[in-house]
Amino acid sequence: MREGEATAMPAAPSPPPWVALPLVAPFLDAASLAAASCVSTSWHAAFAADYLWARLCRSHYPAALGLLRQLPDSDGAASDRQCSSSPHRLLFALFRSASSRSRALPSPRLALADVAFAVDIFTAGGKNILSFAVSADEAGDVKNADGLFLFGVDLSDRNAVIGSGDWRVMWTAVRTAHRGIAPAAVLMMDAKVPAARAAGAIRFGGRGDAGVAARLPAPGCGGARLEAEVVVELTGEEKLVEKVSQLKRGSHLRETFLAKALSILSENNIRMLWPTPSGVKISALLTKLKVC
């Protein structure tokens, strides 16, 4: 024991030095980080710092980053500088609360411009295959007889890793802030899709398909039920033997998906199709079933 090591009754401990707080922050999970930011003004300054939440967004909800532009950043009322919100923190909170299914789906009169879809796909190991966010009103003028809308998302330079085991697909619908209404989000799907058959088909040039269905809560009146389904389809094209990672830089990996704002839909289907040059198709089918 050396001097400085207390041998007598220690005095009451003092708070940690504030410079230590940013050093500790990366070791905290999101919920603990949030709780810690409620402790005091200096703890708030350390733990509500945007870069910490940007990092958490990147690992948990990468697609959400595509929506930053469409969401308000700091609340205008926060003239108190030290308590103004950080945009990434708000984003994280929005997506984390999206999975609370007690939230009702958006009310009927919703414009396409107010809705965005954020899709994240991870391999079983947690590696992010693909993430994108798109505003629902970026529809082209392709409308087929069913009343479906078509969206084009340019994701050039994407190396999609197939992986093995199950993919995790998260599809979140976000009502972005408009005319002073706060943003709201609902997690439409958080499901697993077996990727094994998809991977096998890509390597050996065969056919395969896998599917999973997830249910959404009923929108309210009418007793209607909505179902969301993710289907992975492969076609037996020659291109399949080409590994996805060998796609030339600059080639457009055009992910196209069809979607329609939930609330406007009453009799129609939502289908999200996602063809890639390697022939892997991912489609999400959202159908409304009539319940007697």
């Binding site: 709780a35 810690a36 930011s37």
Partner: protein
């Protein structure tokens, strides 16, 4: 000038060098250069040729410096032992390796189980001296003290005063409501 290091185990008479580190309150510590070099700050000073006559550390008191050097000595000895075990053809040595890892882990656990003030001092010293393993250990310990607690419980643990105005507190609680559901 060869001398056995204070940790003892690593010395095999091959001429290991020691250097002197001087705390802010003018206490001198002699340690193996290898141990001291676990601190990047000290390593750079040695490489820049500033080690003659001892390296002064005006930011670190004797008590904390002793602990930091204890950590470094223990870890440097463990690294040496495991590389010996790795290259040894002695099966018993190789089999003992995971056990030694466990020993190190329980050393770390006991080492960081200190009073809060000492914990913060160790954290700050590890940061200043750039001893990554010790910094991570101390930060993880503090993080473990925060995890799973409500803000009130955190305040109690760390003796922190709530200096929010009622309106601020209300707003911040609302923003972080998701963490409490």
């Amino acid at each position: 000038m060869a001398s056995a290091g204070e940790s003892g185990d690593g010395a095999d008479g091959k001429g290991v060098t020691t250097i002197t580190i001087i705390s802010s309150d003018n206490e001198a510590f002699e340690v193996l250069e290898a141990a001291a070099s676990m601190s990047l700050t000290i390593r750079h000073l040695i490489e820049d040729g500033c080690a003659d006559g001892g390296i002064p550390l005006p930011n670190v008191t004797a008590g904390i410096l002793a602990k930091v050097l204890e950590y470094c000595s223990k870890h440097v000895a463990a690294v040496a032992a495991s590389s010996e075990a790795g290259s040894s053809s002695n099966a018993a040595d190789a089999a003992a390796a995971p056990e030694k890892e466990e020993d190190l882990a329980s050393f770390d656990k006991a080492f960081i189980d200190v009073e809060q003030d000492t914990l913060y001092d160790l954290l700050m010293a590890a940061n200043y001296l750039e001893v990554k393993g010790l910094l991570d250990l101390a930060c993880q310990k503090v993080a473990d003290m925060i995890k799973g607690k409500t803000p009130d419980a955190i305040r109690q643990t760390f003796k922190i005063k709530n200096d929010f105005s009622p309106e601020q507190e209300e707003k911040i609680r609302e923003e972080n409501q998701w963490a409490f559901e």
